[in-house]
């Protein structure tokens, strides 16, 4: 039977990778994801995990090592944070386009300047359009489960795509939570050994990635697009099976909380969803019909589900944990895709961008309450006064909404 | 859409990369002088060029605005210019040519000798031969005419001049005087025109 442990998000990712029997691991230190590799190196050193541990000379090398290992038929695992994500950028498209389903754990971190080790989604959100599967976990348990689930989804022969398995730096990666760890036999039953249809193998030689004519470019892009088109089906299947085998109950795409009769919802990804749930509870006590919607995947983006299930709300506040300077609405990244997903509905909710959790700042209950006021008003009037709100900065009388930590 | 007169130039990689480009530029610039709408470009997939690889350079001339500007190839060249005669053996140089096209070739060989290597010669109405190499020597190959570069030394100093000069004999899309006007080696253009042997087929 599953034993329960008290794991940080980092430890959860490491033990998830161990359960997935990763074969090639490559590391480079950067806070806050470093803990994942520290755990794995111990497991390898003690012989608890039979894998090659390659000390990369940078994130660019980490991504390259996992690409090479994955192309040779080994299950490969790496990870990074913040500026490291940016440094690996060149290799993301070759990995996704080459269809090498390796996994890159992300404990996100603000980009410079100046040096800031706090959580912010902007780092990996900037790499969201390369073809990677990508989604944020809310808790160490979900980090553990996603690590295994993402491999299963990415290695599906209809998909064959690499994955960003994301968690909020510090908030999820460093604050331990309960993680029920299943038996290895359960994981083996769920996740078959990695099998690449045409690896780099002298016994059956193939050439990987020769030049193509510009005219063929669209055709090869369509392959990546097609793999993403297959994803919702595959995700549905793989999450369902995971729930059955491990006795969990994950929604495939959209995790909803108190949405049945909600007038407005907070729409956000990652760890701050925890706080959002508590905020919703308090608001409900006050008779405010608030709810929360959390996409489990950012790529593929759950636009179908949003169009299907979020049209009924009067207002949606996308709690942005990333920046999109100069982008539409001048807020974060989520609002672009949420608004776009709702566009074809006859009756559309009012949607506004609500900045929170940038650079690792604490997203307080109070902030959700302030934003709730805005959304409640929008729900009444059917429209928002601003595209984007910066709680505590752009509206007077919000003392305490943002407090300095030290 | 307006009728477009397409010219495809075949040249030898590295050795004639610049000359080939100059041939297309001579044609385009000459037609431009006559107030036509023109276009001249290299085949993108043929570059980076390699020593001896066959290269394609293109020119287009039209009386009206050319609406399809961003394409890779000339699909239907009415005139094909060969900078180095051995290319006709290895490549279907008349690829896409509508019936009644013209072939201009830099060679010291006889027309019959050349036609032996063109199985689809029935597409041709005329063939023009000229020994351009004996009229204008190729200067030392250097990096002056690099991909996308500015032609600082002027265009048409080498064999491209007499070759395009010869082409003037069989088309009115661009005129001798305009080619002379834009070419660096004006004498070469004239000699090419005079020495060109036109054969009707």
């Amino acid at each position: 039977m599953a034993k329960e442990y008290f794991y940080s998000g980092c430890a959860a990712a490491a033990y998830g990778a161990k359960a997935a029997r990763v074969e090639v691991i490559t590391s480079y230190p950067i806070r806050p994801y470093t803990g994942i590799m520290m755990e794995l190196s111990k497991l390898v050193a003690n012989g608890d995990l039979d894998a090659e541990f390659v000390h990369g000379e940078g994130e660019h090398a980490q991504m390259s090592v996992t690409l090479g290992a994955s192309a040779s038929g080994a299950r490969a695992y790496t990870g990074t944070s913040g500026v490291g994500v940016a440094y690996g950028m060149e290799v993301y498209s070759p990995t996704a386009g080459g269809r090498y389903p390796c996994q890159c754990a992300i404990a996100d971190r603000a980009l410079d300047p100046p040096g800031d080790f706090g959580s912010e989604h902007t780092d990996v959100m900037s790499a969201r359009d390369q073809g990677y599967i990508m989604g944020w976990a809310e808790s160490p348990q979900e980090v553990f489960d996603n690590t295994i689930m993402f491999y299963r989804i990415g290695e599906d022969q209809d998909v064959m795509l690499p994955q960003f398995c994301c968690q909020d730096g510090y908030f999820v990666s460093h604050i331990p939570g309960k993680v029920p760890v299943p038996e290895q036999s359960q994981v083996d039953e769920y996740l078959p050994p990695y099998n690449h249809p045409h690896p780099l193998d002298p016994h059956r030689p193939t050439l990987h990635g020769p030049q193509i004519f510009p005219d063929q470019g669209a055709a090869i892009d369509i392959q990546r697009a097609g793999a993403h088109a297959n994803l919702p089906k595959v995700i549905e299947k793989c999450v369902k099976e995971y729930n059955e085998v491990m006795g969990r109950n994950y929604a495939p795409m959209l995790d909803e909380y108190m949405t049945d009769d909600a007038e407005f919802v907070f729409f956000l990804q990652g760890g701050h969803a925890k706080t959002a749930r508590y905020a919703v509870n308090h608001l409900r006590k006050k008779g405010v019909k608030a709810g929360m919607v959390r996409p489990r995947f950012t790529r593929p983006f759950p636009s179908d589900e949003i169009a299907e299930r979020c049209g009924k709300f009067k207002a949606i506040g996308t709690i942005e944990t990333s920046t999109s300077y100069g982008g539409a609405m001048r807020g974060g990244n989520l609002i672009h895709e949420v608004r776009a997903s709702l566009y074809d509905l006859d009756k559309r909710p009012a949607v506004t961008s609500m900045m929170a959790g940038l650079g690792g700042e604490v997203v307080t209950l109070d902030m959700f309450f302030q934003y709730a006021e805005v959304l409640a008003k929008a729900a009444k009037t059917g429209q928002v006064d601003q595209w984007v709100y910066w709680a505590g900065f752009d509206i007077a009388g919000w003392e305490g909404a943002r407090r300095l930590q030290f | 859409m307006a009728k477009i007169f397409e010219v495809t130039i075949w040249a030898t990689g590295v050795l004639q990369d610049m000359e080939g480009r100059h041939a297309s530029l001579l044609i385009a610039n000459a037609a431009d002088k006559a107030g036509k709408f023109v276009q001249a470009w290299d085949n993108y997939a043929d570059l980076p060029d390699r020593v001896n690889v066959p290269l394609r350079k293109y020119a287009r001339i039209s009386d009206e605005e050319i609406e399809m500007r961003y394409e890779y190839e000339n699909e239907h060249p009415e005139m094909v210019i060969i900078m180095q005669d051995a290319i006709i053996k290895g490549m279907n140089v008349l690829w896409g040519m509508p019936k009644g096209g013209v072939l201009v070739i830099n060679t010291k060989r006889s027309v019959d000798d050349i036609l032996k290597f063109i199985p689809n010669k029935d597409l041709l109405s005329k063939i023009v031969t000229v020994d351009a190499n004996s009229i204008a020597k190729v200067a030392d190959i250097d990096f002056m005419g690099g991909e996308g570069g500015v032609e600082v030394v002027g265009i048409g100093a080498g064999p491209s001049a007499p070759l395009v000069g010869a082409a003037c004999k069989v088309t009115d899309a661009f005129s001798l005087e305009n080619v002379v006007a834009v070419a660096a080696n004006k004498d070469g253009v004239k000699k090419g025109y005079e020495q060109a042997v036109v054969t009707n087929l």
Partner: protein
Amino acid sequence: MATVKTQNLEMIKSTRNAPKAEMYVPGHRTCAGCGPALAYRLVAKACGPNSIFLGPTGCMYVANTSYLCGPWATPWTHCQITNGGAVASGIEAAYQVLIRKGKWKGELPNIVVFAGDGGAIDIGLQAMSAMMYRGHDALFVEYDNESYANTGIQTSPATPYGANTTFTPPGKAIPEGKVLFPKDAPQLVIGGHPAVHYVATASVAYPVDLMNKVRKALNYQGPTFLHLHCPCPKGWLFDEAKTVEMAKLAIQTGMWVNYEWEKGEYKYQHTPKEYKGVGEYMKHQTRFKHLKPEHISKMQDFINAKLKAPGKPIAVPVAGPRERA
């Protein structure tokens, strides 16, 4: 516990008993008379079928795979010009674990990175150095055609002093074209990588020697480095029939020295009794045509200094900030 090669590829005595099988087969878009292509063919011949080749971006990627095909009878993969060493590390690590787990049966394949000078000692230096440091059992070959040739001949750290490239054109202000002296590639590897026990330079002018150095490198366990002199008719601007002749001239003039560095010991090959002047080499190449006598003698001084102890680092004249091209 690392899987190690048990193979002992035997030395090739003469051209005649070189392996017949071509692993780098006819059918590639490299220049007529391409030095790197010749080197590739010889390296692949020496490696044999149980090999995996990596092609960082460069001529030997682009020209060899234009379009959607390639000339390798073995497995091959493209990698970025930046990461040849890192992708090779991943492949080697994968085979270590796959063999250990019994998922792949057979001798650890020869993993060979075939990188240009840019992919080896310029933008690819970091990944190459890390592969050497970590001790992956792979061979890193730098085919040196002394420029970024695929993009139309731009200067690289291997481009010799005084060469005309499309990024170092000679002009009134900078008459020499390139004013800097090149990096010493083998020294970069020898100098700081304890895991490396074998580094050698070879030239396409001496194919048997080249093939044997490849095999010697492959017989060594752990990382090894080969620096191959590969004349480039397009980039150096000489008649493509003279590719091998240029390589020979380079050795006769001291512009290139064939040597092996084996566990700290230097051994030299093909040293001429008397060196010709560098002018003898440079006069055949249009890339040096613009040079004045004083430039040639500057090059001669540099070569003379190098030849005092080939393969060892020497001080080079440092260019002023304004002229650094």
